[in-house]
């Protein structure tokens, strides 16, 4: 039970927990990313997510397959939200279940780190002063070169 998806509707986290739960698994790990009210000292009012959707879903599947192989996990779900999100809304959720805790936690962490590194999804922050800006985690401005 390995599933990657993109959703334009709110992510139902309890439903994802139920989805991976199994009586053969004693450990369940969840990571949830939400829209935060500030970033780099600026007051944030909302976030807008967009993606190169077919490639994003493809990369998400590749990451889950790598996580499943590396950490021997068979129950793993990754869902990323797109569209306009309000403060506190869930942008990404990852759940992993395994007989043992280390594998469940390692798989969850692997997936969020790789997602942030290579899945073609972008977000634009909306600020309290009415401006908005694409987030660039490389720290580069749009005019600089990607390292």
């Amino acid at each position: 039970m390995i599933r990657a998806a993109i959703s334009r509707d709110p992510i139902d986290v309890p439903a994802l927990l139920a989805e991976v739960t199994s009586e053969g698994c004693g450990a369940l790990s969840l990571f949830v990313g939400t829209v935060r009210d500030s970033n780099d000292g600026r007051s944030v009012t909302g976030m807008e997510y967009t993606a190169y959707e077919p490639m994003a879903v493809r990369e998400m599947h590749v990451i889950l397959d790598e996580a499943a192989r590396a950490h021997d996990v068979e129950r793993l779900v990754l869902v990323h939200r797109l569209g306009a999100l309000a403060l506190g809304e869930v942008s990404v959720a990852i759940v992993a279940a395994h007989a043992h805790r280390a594998q469940a936690m390692d798989a969850t962490r692997f997936v969020i780190e790789e997602l942030k590194r290579r899945v073609p999804i972008w977000k634009r922050e909306h600020y309290a002063d009415g401006t908005r800006e694409w987030v660039d985690p490389t720290g580069a401005h749009a005019v600089s070169e990607v390292p």
Binding site: A51, M55, R58, S91, W122, R124, A142, E145
Partner: protein, 80 residues
């Protein structure tokens, strides 16, 4: 040959569109395509070596492109 290039997020904003057609000599590579793109009006914001995907996979700068490929320029990703 004409290559249609998909644009997203800050790059789509910079060029004011979601895709753009670029004329290139046959056998051109990703690097040639990026150079041609950067010469267009508004494209000064593109870095010299952006991430590029061919058919939904990240491609090297020396990968050859063909008109049948789906080519996309990928701004710095920010999922999560």
């Amino acid at each position: 040959m004409t290559i249609t290039v998909l644009l997203f997020a800050s790059y789509a904003d910079a060029l004011g569109r979601r895709s753009i057609d670029v004329d290139l000599p046959d056998g051109a590579a990703v690097g040639d395509l990026v150079a041609a793109l950067r010469a267009l009006p508004g494209a000064g914001q593109l870095p010299a070596r952006p991430l590029v995907a061919i058919n939904e996979r990240y491609a090297r700068f020396d990968a050859v492109v063909s008109p049948r490929d789906e080519v996309a320029i990928i701004p710095p990703v920010a999922g999560g």
